[in-house]
């Protein structure tokens, strides 16, 4: 660990104006390079010297990654550099994918939403306080998890999908995009690939040092939202200690397709309880094909926390998971 906090170490800063240039730089510098978008995740790391990149590639000049436009399949294409405020307030996002607009509107504060980008919100690292304090945990390349001991301070940590690391995905927009079956456009110097949102986020079992599939040299350049869920029935809720400037203790995003009094299809995704935005497939299986009534809602709640393994200080997340899942069905609106 560094002797000092709150004071960035000098680095070489590149500010490319074209994507191609940015990707070339990332190829050249590999794991020595840090990708900077809005900086809302970055600066804590750099100020505390817990991350000390030699090179920072600032994507701020890449106008081509900014903006919201019509997608090829009738959905929307959102550039990764689009600010969270722009996502939250864009008329087409509100009209067709209110779920995403509401989730974006719950991010942090107006100032952070003005500066932070959608790509940054999705690709941000976990907020486990041990990890972010620079402790040499599994995720940081060490050989232990400080948050998962009998005495650890782990109120904010996960109850699902722990694998050595118990940190959670902090993003507010990620559960909404997983629920909308979004796809992530990932570019590197040589290629571009499209990854389903549900697969974009990974668990420690896949790679304990990363939260997403992004490798050094790759950039998330855009998010595609298919037409599939446009205008359907949605619900988003974030439970946090404070109503602003806080990360979710748990959040839920739901997208329901209702017809003939039945739930024809559903996506229920939770944030803040797992290393990735967690699709509640058991819940979805329970409710699809059933009437949206109290019995169905109770059945969903009954299975919502199946498989969860609470830590010492986060047993409440079991209740929160059950209750939020029920609300995400009961209070979803078109």
């Amino acid at each position: 660990m560094s002797n000092i906090r709150d004071m960035m170490r000098s680095f070489e800063l590149f500010q490319p104006t074209e994507l191609e240039g940015a990707l070339t730089l990332l190829r050249e510098y590999g794991s020595d390079a840090w990708v900077l978008s809005g900086g809302m995740d970055t600066f804590d790391w750099l100020k505390d010297r817990a991350k000390q990149p030699r090179v920072v590639v600032d994507l701020g000049g890449l106008e081509e990654l900014r903006g919201i436009s019509e997608g090829d399949d009738g959905g929307l294409l959102i550039g990764a550099r689009t600010t969270i405020t722009e996502v939250a307030t864009h008329p087409e996002v509100i009209r067709r994918y209110r779920l995403l607009a509401e989730a974006a509107d719950m991010v942090a504060t107006p100032q952070i939403r003005n500066q932070g980008t959608l790509g940054g919100n999705l690709a941000q690292d976990t907020r486990c306080w041990y990890y972010r304090s620079g402790w040499p945990c599994y995720r940081a390349g060490g050989n232990t998890c400080y948050a998962n001991t009998p005495t650890s301070i782990n109120r904010e940590h996960g109850i699902f999908e722990a694998d050595r690391c118990v940190a959670v995905s902090p993003s507010d927009t990620a559960p909404a995009l997983v629920a909308l079956d979004a796809r992530m456009v990932v570019s590197s110097h040589r290629s571009e690939r499209i990854v389903d949102a549900a697969d974009f986020f990974i668990t420690p079992g896949t790679d304990i040092t990363r939260m997403t599939v992004l490798h050094p040299g790759e950039i998330l350049v855009a998010v595609q939202i298919p037409e599939r869920w446009a205008g359907k029935t949605f619900y988003f809720e974030k439970v946090a200690d404070r109503q602003a400037w806080d990360f979710a203790l748990a959040s839920v995003a739901s997208a329901l397709e209702l017809s003939g009094g039945l739930i024809q299809d559903a996506r229920i995704v939770m944030g803040g309880v797992s290393p990735r935005p967690l699709r509640m497939r058991r819940v979805e299986e329970t409710i699809v094909g059933r009437a949206l009534d109290d019995e169905t809602i109770e059945a969903a709640g009954a299975v919502a926390a199946d498989g969860a393994r609470p830590l010492r200080f986060n047993q409440y997340k079991l209740s929160l998971t059950r209750n939020l899942v029920k609300r995400a069905i009961r209070e979803a609106t078109a």
Binding site: M1, S2, N3, I4, R5, D6, M7, R9, S10, D44, D48, R49, T109, W129, Y130, S133, Y146, T149, T151, S152, I153, R155, E237, V239, D241, R242, Q243, A244, W245, D246, L249, R312, F313, N314, Q315, Y316, S319, L320, N323, L324, K326, R327
Partner: protein, 812 residues
């Protein structure tokens, strides 16, 4: 009362408003001095250690690095090599080789710029011997429990000694109760406690808890210092100019006249910047080492969280006996105070005193013990002792009212102090309480009868809670000095030695002088924040002392000036001094208003006359600091200068009633505060807008502490999780009630000339206490024991599962 005044009680544009909103106001970090170097600190990375060696070779070899300061260099050694003492502040080392908490400063490096200084700190190689530590006072009291320091674990005065409770004592706590008769270090009792409880119709017994919380001033305590012609110039962030100057001059072991302190704006302190902390001295010490070169230390949020002080936590047990009419028969209070590793605080004793005043019990016992832990040093934080008392006791009053079938406010009123009520073990008494009147006003304004019908009503998953709290705190000091000058241009300049904390008393207390001299507010200037411009000896701007202390002091100085105006007029225009009045910028004969002179002309005459009129001669009873300040102003006009000798019979206290309406979501544990009302008994209103800010701002801060703020420490490693502002979680604007209102009785205190009392400390308990009481109401009378009331705590109560904490476990 304000209708009888020309200046007091009126809304005027704030005199420092323009500077603040335009950015012209300069805080410490805004200053730049030619040749200024920057300092950075090495903080202890562990909660307790011993520094075996610091290898600074690589650091000092860096380009731009000017020097290092270590604990070894703070020893004061005589020419024959004998250690005479050490540069420290109130017993706390500026730098240390034996850190007692994570974040305690170990060394400092100065360099030509901040990057170089930081890099040099990173290149220090420090060999630490890791020592055992303890975070939780109850763990330290356990048999075999660790001590925070070698000297012991329990404060006896400011000394430490070893004290452990018995296994049986600790078993009682582990079972969720409290031991019968463990050893304490302070106690008092009055009345027949056994008889009081025997006569009680209801007894409530509860473990009680309050967390330690950092002050979180928005402006960290940065400092800039340089030496010039043998004088030390220190720019810093302080609440209290005069008090800080005296403290720091003593710490540096220099004469006050060789020390200039500059701090015109202070971005929050909440008690933590009363007299500063030892790190304020580091730039001065480095500057001295560098031959007087200016050195700036910009304190970061991480550092502010580490050494910027914190409120002591409390763990304890209370037994309350009530008669059927709600009257409190007995209070039996046991408190363990977490005072950190440096100094003993008195919050538990204050807690007891405030409880005895607020509830006027027939009998009461207090027993307390102060324990050292390896957590940051504690200090006064808004309403020390008083705020925890309200937030821990008032919800139990709500529970008692519920169990006795009484109205909550009626129970509050029947116990509230009236008039010159007594308190504490020595039967001290106050100047006057109008708390019952404040309760009545609050009942009316809040439409209490209507609102309490909402209690327990549900709307979907939400349930309504209605809560109330009475809160009190000391409201003023006496016997400080006032200093003012009427200048030849007719303007009145009031010099202040208090700080500009943002609560505006630095300006508002000058109204007392303007009122005495009938000076229009537009023609009053206030000088503050720079001791080279003349500052009188003043109270701390903390502990709600200032409004009371300096309306009196400025009143006294203005009376002195008024008398001098009358004397000058009588001398020049004939008649006796008593036949002259001062009003509307003139001093004139009462029986011949056309016979008089302007204040400007009188000021010219004062300069001509010299002597006591223009400050050449000064009163003998004023403080040496006031003398020094006055000498800077000699000959500039007619000087008013005096000590507050008005006297006082009793101690001064203010009261605030807070009422709260909230909804609690039973599925998520989230609280939404819908409405808050604060009503104050704080004497004459000086500044209505300022008072509104105090009442509602303080109430909001109280809600913040009880809802969001805490420390979390990993118990295995002793490292803090909340060193960032976003992880410490002070309240945000979206958490503030949508409806907030206030009122004040505006009844003058009978023991002070202007009638004004301070109110700041009392405001915080109104918000925090009423909120917890309302949460308990929403929970059907179950009082949450843990703080803060985050969703996990509320959900655990609603659904009956454990939170994971041991009984009364702290810092988790």
């Amino acid at each position: 009362m304000s209708e009888n005044h020309k200046v007091i009680g009126k809304d005027f544009p704030l005199k420092d408003l323009e500077a603040k909103v335009t950015g012209r106001a300069r805080f410490t970090e805004d200053f730049r001095v030619e040749g200024m170097a920057f300092a950075k600190l090495l903080l202890s990375p562990m909660p307790r250690a011993r520094v075996r060696q610091i290898d600074a070779t690589a650091a000092l070899a860096m380009e731009g690095v000017l020097g290092i300061l270590t604990a070894d260099e703070l020893d004061i050694v005589s020419t024959d090599g004998v250690r005479q003492g050490v540069i420290e502040s109130a017993g706390e080392r500026v730098l240390t080789n034996e850190p007692f908490y994570q974040g305690q400063p170990v060394a400092a490096i100065a360099a030509v710029d901040e990057d170089a200084a930081a890099e040099a700190i990173d290149r220090l190689r420090v060999d630490y011997e890791i020592l055992p530590f303890v975070l939780d006072p109850l763990e330290s009291l356990r048999p075999g429990g660790r001590n925070a320091r070698d000297e012991g674990n329990v404060y006896d005065g400011q000394s430490l000694r070893d004290l452990k409770w018995t296994p049986a004592d600790m078993e009682a706590i582990d079972r969720g109760g409290w031991p019968l008769d463990p050893e304490y270090t302070s106690s008092w009792e009055k009345g027949d406690l056994a008889a009081a409880f025997a006569a009680a119709d209801l007894i409530i017994e509860e473990p009680i808890y309050h967390q330690s919380v950092t002050h979180h001033p928005l402006e960290p305590r940065s400092a800039l210092a340089y030496w010039q012609n043998g004088k030390l110039y220190l720019h810093c962030s302080t609440q209290s100019i005069a008090q800080m100057k005296r403290r720091k001059a003593a710490d540096m072991q220099i004469e006050e006249e060789d020390f200039v302190l500059i701090s015109q704006y202070c971005g929050g302190g909440f008690g933590s910047k009363n007299e500063g902390v030892p790190t304020d001295l580091i730039p001065a010490l480095l500057s001295r080492k560098l031959g007087g070169r200016p050195v700036m230390l910009r304190v970061t949020r991480d550092e502010e969280s580490a050494f910027g002080r914190a409120r002591p936590g409390l763990q304890g047990f209370v037994r309350l006996g009530f008669r059927s009419n709600g009257r409190i028969a007995g209070i039996d209070l046991s408190l363990v105070l977490d005072s950190g590793p440096i100094r003993s605080q008195g919050d538990h004793s204050s807690f007891a005193n405030y409880a005895s005043l607020q509830y006027q019990p027939e009998a009461m016992r207090f027993r307390g013990i102060t324990v050292a832990t390896n957590t940051p040093p504690r200090g006064a934080q808004q309403a020390p002792g008083g705020f925890p008392m309200v937030t821990m006791m008032e919800p139990l009053m709500g529970r008692a009212a519920r169990e006795l079938g009484l109205d909550r406010l009626e129970l509050m009123r029947i116990n509230a102090p009236r008039g010159a009520a007594s308190y504490g073990p020595q039967e001290a008494y106050i100047t006057g309480s109008f708390a019952p009147e404040a309760i009545d006003r609050a009942r009316e304004l809040f439409r209490w009868e209507e609102k309490k019908q909402l209690s327990g009503q549900t709307n979907g998953s939400k349930v309504t809670g209605i809560g109330a709290a009475l809160t009190t705190y000391g409201a003023g000091d006496i016997e400080f000095d006032g200093l003012l000058v009427i200048r030849p241009d007719g303007r009145l300049t009031v010099h202040q030695g208090i700080g500009n904390l943002g609560c505006h008393s630095v300006i508002d207390t000058a109204r007392a002088a303007a009122e005495v001299l009938s000076q229009p507010w537009e023609e009053v200037d206030v000088v503050w924040g720079d001791t080279s411009r003349g500052a009188p000896w003043s109270s701390r701007q903390g502990g709600t002392r200032t409004t009371h202390a300096h309306t009196r002091a400025n009143h006294a100085a203005a009376m002195d000036a008024r008398r001098k105006l009358q004397e000058i007029a009588a001398r020049d225009l004939g008649g006796s001094a008593d036949s002259y009045e001062v009003d509307a910028g003139r001093v004139y004969r009462l029986d011949s208003p056309g016979t008089g002179m302007t204040l400007g002309r009188a000021a010219e005459r004062a300069i001509e006359l010299g002597g006591r009129y223009d400050g050449h001669e000064l009163p003998e009873d004023i403080d040496a600091m006031t003398v020094a300040g006055a000498r800077l102003l000699v000959g500039q006009g007619l000087m008013g200068v005096a000590k507050d000798n008005y006297g006082r019979d009793g101690s001064t206290y203010s009261f605030v009633v807070g009422l709260c309406h909230l909804e609690l979501d039973r599925e998520t544990g989230v609280i939404e505060v819908k409405e808050y009302l604060a009503v104050a008994d704080c004497g004459t209103i000086m500044n209505p807008r300022g008072l509104q800010g105090q009442l509602l701002g303080g109430g909001t801060r109280g809600m913040s502490v009880v809802r969001f703020e805490k420390w979390a420490y990993d118990p295995q490693w002793g490292i803090n999780a909340n060193h960032r502002l976003y992880t410490a979680k002070p309240v945000t604007i979206l958490d503030v009630p949508t409806t907030m209102d206030w009122a004040a009785l505006d009844i003058p205190d009978p023991q002070t000339p202007v009638g004004a009392k301070g109110v700041a400390e009392s405001t915080i308990g109104g918000g925090g206490g009423a909120l917890i009481d309302a949460v308990a109401d929403a929970l059907g009378g179950r009082v949450p024991q843990r703080r803060p009331l985050t969703p996990d705590i509320i959900l655990s109560m609603l659904e009956g599962f454990g939170t994971g904490h041991r009984p009364l476990q702290t810092h988790a």
